[in-house]
């Protein structure tokens, strides 16, 4: 998704996303008004619900953690020139891997061995689930978008099958596995902060948030400071130039998707190891698709992704609060807003670019529209 427009770089990276977000918010706000709510009231409750209390903030960050993983996954693939819609399925597989190894070994291994192992296996499962479509794209020409969509469905079928037929605790009504032994659980933030001597409310937020931040930093360094990242970005930007440089595009496709899948697979550490402590049916529930929105908003940059993840986390948490306080509102509004964001920041990202360029030109007194990308 390369850009061909004469916007100066700062406008492209900062102004345009904000404009697109604003338009998306307007569209969503219009819908809110249409169904008889007061958009301003909704926004106030939402912001307060997301950031106003420690507990609210906690939930916001917990949601954000998952989105950081799926957002990074989409971003890494984008940099390699690929659209990874399979984040949903890769996250499912990652959680599955994390959970399976926990069920198998948690009783016999201490936490300091167990948790890294769970992370590793989760990432590995996610990686494999992305690498197969990648291989099919690179060597058999199968369109990675279609195959990853199919793999999403295969993943959820697989999860249901395993849970219902093999992992369900007999005699239990709910479709869940047995609980993991204590060594397979990531400490919650409440526990962690207690250990630091700080008061923190009980919430699903757990130490995997640090893992998410680490992952963001790691992706940043990988993409812009390592040769692997250099080769990946070169391929994503110009496959012919990469060929000229001796980089093998097929290898890059598999590498990009592999890393992408591994990142998505880390969702398991948040949801399975961090919060639930057992395997269940719904632990991804759309996070893979939110990751797309997050990556688009964050312009595929880890820093932007962290910010966008917090934004979406706030929307989810704030949205839940609003649905308590404001009658008739539901979380689906947030889903709708997410869709608008994908639409305006993604598909229609450059519809507004001419208008933004014009405005930028006005602001800078006309000189800037002539400046910018002057082609040789």
């Amino acid at each position: 998704m390369t850009s061909h427009q004469p916007l100066p770089r700062w406008a492209d990276l900062v102004v345009l996303p904000i404009v697109n977000l604003a338009v998306a918010l307007l569209a969503a706000g219009f819908m809110v008004w249409l169904v008889g709510q007061n958009p301003l009231e909704v926004i106030t409750v939402l912001v307060h619900g997301a950031f106003g209390t420690q507990r609210g903030l906690s939930y916001t960050l917990y949601y954000a953690t998952t989105f950081v993983f799926t957002g990074l996954a989409v971003a890494v693939a984008f940099h390699g020139g690929l659209f990874n819609i399979g984040g949903e399925g890769q996250a499912i597989l990652g959680g599955l891997g994390t959970g399976l190894v926990a069920l198998w070994l948690a009783a016999s291994l201490p936490a300091w061995l167990m948790l890294p192992l769970m992370l590793l296996v989760g990432a590995l499962f996610g990686m494999v689930w992305a690498a197969v479509p990648a291989y099919l794209q690179a060597y058999r020409g199968s369109h990675v978008v279609i195959t990853t969509i199919m793999f999403n469905f295969l993943a959820s079928s697989l999860l249901v099958y395993l849970l219902v037929n093999h992992l369900k605790v007999p005699g239990n009504m709910s479709v869940e596995s047995a609980s993991f032994a204590a060594s397979a659980k990531l400490p919650s933030m409440h526990t962690f902060m207690q250990w630091l001597g700080v008061e923190w409310p009980n919430s699903p937020l757990n130490t995997s948030v640090f893992l998410a931040l680490l992952a963001a930093v790691g992706v940043y360094f990988l993409l812009w400071h390592t040769r692997l990242g250099y080769d990946l970005r070169a391929t994503g930007s110009s496959a012919r130039a990469a060929e000229y440089a001796g980089i093998n595009p097929k290898h890059q496709v598999i590498f990009a998707m592999g890393v992408s899948g591994a990142l998505a697979g880390m969702v398991g550490m948040n949801e399975i190891a961090g919060v639930n402590g057992r395997l269940m049916l719904e632990y991804v529930s759309g996070a893979g698709f939110t990751g797309i929105a997050v990556s688009l908003m964050g312009r595929s940059h880890p820093f932007g992704i962290v910010l966008a993840s917090i934004l979406f986390g706030a929307l989810f948490q704030g949205g839940a609060e609003v649905s308590f306080e404001v009658r008739g509102f539901s979380r689906d509004m947030v889903v709708m807003l997410q869709g608008f964001i994908v639409l305006f920041s993604g598909a229609m990202a450059y519809v507004l670019a001419p208008a933004v360029a014009w405005a930028v030109g006005l602001v800078r007194g006309g000189a800037s529209t002539a400046k910018g990308a002057a082609h040789g």
Binding site: T226, Y230, D231, Y244, A373, G376
Partner: protein, 521 residues
């Protein structure tokens, strides 16, 4: 066409061109690359509007603003790159856009009968129900001609028609064109192949650098003076930077390189070439005669169907050809012809493009970790030495002017002190000021003992730089001359494939195993 002028930015593609063609004749338009022939015909066909000038068709003034108006005037064009849909039948392709009926079976019946008549009267035979994807290149071209004739073309423009044909197909085409001429169709033939012009045309216009330099009836022309007119410049004696050093050992040798493209057309016919230390070899010839494929094969971007390569003490054969990274490791540098797509990653900043292809070198990358400081420093160095402006290593590669981009690419490739330097179109899109600088750098490389290969469609450039000139024509080396023996006569003849100069290679017999297809470009 009278007084046609057309400018694209700084380039004057056509300058006051006059073209008069009598109806029912075949008129050739010849010239080197960039002479302006395609632009002129595009103006006639409505793809471009001329800046000034006028066009008269059949005596009446005409404005042609798009292809449809051209078609309405009876002008049809057969492009070099066919406009056909592979998955549809030949009949459907002809019909598209001009279907006589909403229901296809009725439309097809009408078109079929008309086409059958047309095929009978012109001798152009195409299997109407075959899928275009299954047709040979020659058939597809016939189909394109049929398409134009079906729409009532009385003036037919053919753009480099024989570029993709086998010799037999070329013969067949000539037959068709002769027949069409007999029937009163006017034919305009854009080509650089003078032999064909001599055979087919009644008259010819020679263009050079956007202007008409000659307009003669074939009866009054000879192939020699056409070649001279096309090439038309004096070789300068006593060029700058000539030394008397004899070339050294062979640093790269390719033998029997045979390349077929995706359509099955042979691009290189068992070519041999040797590059010696301290020598600049210039490859002259009209673009499209295999020069690009030669560069790609030697740099490792393209693996030939058969052949061998010896460089840096290692041998490579067709099944296990050299790859670009190994080539660089062995001291082969490559300045590609296609700057935008190949030489740089346009969205990268300059300091990242400046190591493209070399990012694995220890000074830039230690244990997988890129050393940004060194990369920046190297870029700044390169910009200083080659006067790249603006001196901003952070600026996006796409934001530099063409000349500065080229200087950066050269700085990168030359900066690795390569043993073999392959350069394609070194000064394309480069401003005058930088050209001499680039030439002096190339000469300096030669003087330092590097083996340099320069491919250029600008004959001036070849003559200014080379110690030895190789002329390519139709995938063969048609001749090889030391610079002292080059003049516009010999070179022109070699470029059109005529004359037997020493070093000309006869087409190689195919190796015993059927020549496998090279990986196409």
């Amino acid at each position: 066409m009278l007084g046609i002028s057309k400018r694209f930015g700084p380039v004057q593609a056509n300058a006051d061109v006059n073209l008069t063609v009598a109806s029912g004749t075949v008129h050739g338009i010849v010239g080197e690359n960039g002479a302006g022939k395609s632009t002129l015909m595009s103006v006639l066909y409505g793809f471009y509007t001329c800046d000034s000038g006028s066009i008269k068709v059949n005596g009446k003034a005409a404005t042609i603003r798009n292809a449809h108006e051209a078609i309405a005037l009876g002008i049809g064009m057969v492009h070099q790159h066919f406009m056909l849909v592979d998955t549809l039948s030949a009949l459907e392709n002809v019909m598209l856009g001009a279907e006589p009926h909403v229901l296809l079976h009725k439309a097809e019946a009408l078109v079929r009968s008309r086409l059958t008549e047309l095929m009978a009267s012109t001798g152009l035979k195409v299997a109407l129900d075959a899928l275009v994807g299954d047709l040979s290149v020659g058939d597809r071209q016939r189909l394109e001609i049929l398409k134009a004739l079906y729409r009532g073309a009385r003036i037919l423009i053919l753009d480099e028609p024989t570029a993709v044909l086998t010799p037999q197909e070329t013969e067949q085409l000539f037959g068709v064109l002769a027949l069409l001429r007999e029937q009163g169709t006017t034919i305009l033939l854009i080509t650089h192949k003078l032999k064909e012009v001599m055979r087919l045309c009644d008259s010819v216009t020679v263009m050079r650098a956007g202007r008409v330099v000659a307009e003669v009836a074939i009866a009054d022309a000879t192939i020699e003076n056409l070649a001279e007119a096309m090439v038309g410049r004096k070789v300068q004696m006593g060029r700058v930077g000539d030394t008397d050093k004899a070339p050294g050992e062979v640093l790269m040798r390719a033998s029997g390189v045979h390349v077929k493209d995706a359509m099955g057309v042979v691009r290189l016919h068992g070519l041999d070439i040797a590059l010696r230390a301290g020598e600049i070899v210039g490859v002259a010839g009209v673009s499209g005669n295999g020069q690009s494929e030669l560069l790609e094969v030697l740099s490792g971007l393209l693996a030939p169907g058969s052949g061998s390569l010896a460089v840096g003490g290692r041998e490579f054969a067709a099944g296990a050809w050299i790859d670009p990274r190994t080539a660089r490791a062995l001291g082969v540098a490559h300045v590609p012809e296609d700057r935008h797509e190949r030489a740089m990653v346009m969205s990268f900043a300059a300091w990242e493009s400046a190591v493209l292809g070399y990012e694995w070198l220890p000074q830039y990358c230690r244990g997988g970790w890129m050393n940004h400081v060194h990369m920046h420093k190297a870029t700044v160095d390169m910009m200083e030495r080659f006067d790249v402006r603006p001196r901003d290593a952070q600026l996006q590669s796409a934001s530099f002017s063409g000349g500065n981009q080229q200087k950066l690419v050269l700085a990168r490739e030359l900066g690795q002190s390569p043993k073999v330097l392959l350069v394609g179109q070194p000064t394309r899109g480069v401003d005058i000021g930088a050209i001499e600088f680039i030439y002096s750098q190339l000469r300096a490389m030669r003087d330092a003992g590097c083996a340099v290969l320069v491919v250029s469609s600008e004959l001036d450039e070849i003559l200014a730089l080379s110690d030895r000139v190789i002329v390519m024509n139709q995938g063969h080396v048609s001749g090889e001359l030391p610079i002292a023996e080059c003049n516009e006569h010999t070179l022109g003849m070699l470029m059109i494939g005529g004359g037997s100069a020493k070093g000309a290679q006869a087409p190689r017999a195919q190796p015993a195993a059927a020549a496998r297809q090279g990986t196409g470009t």
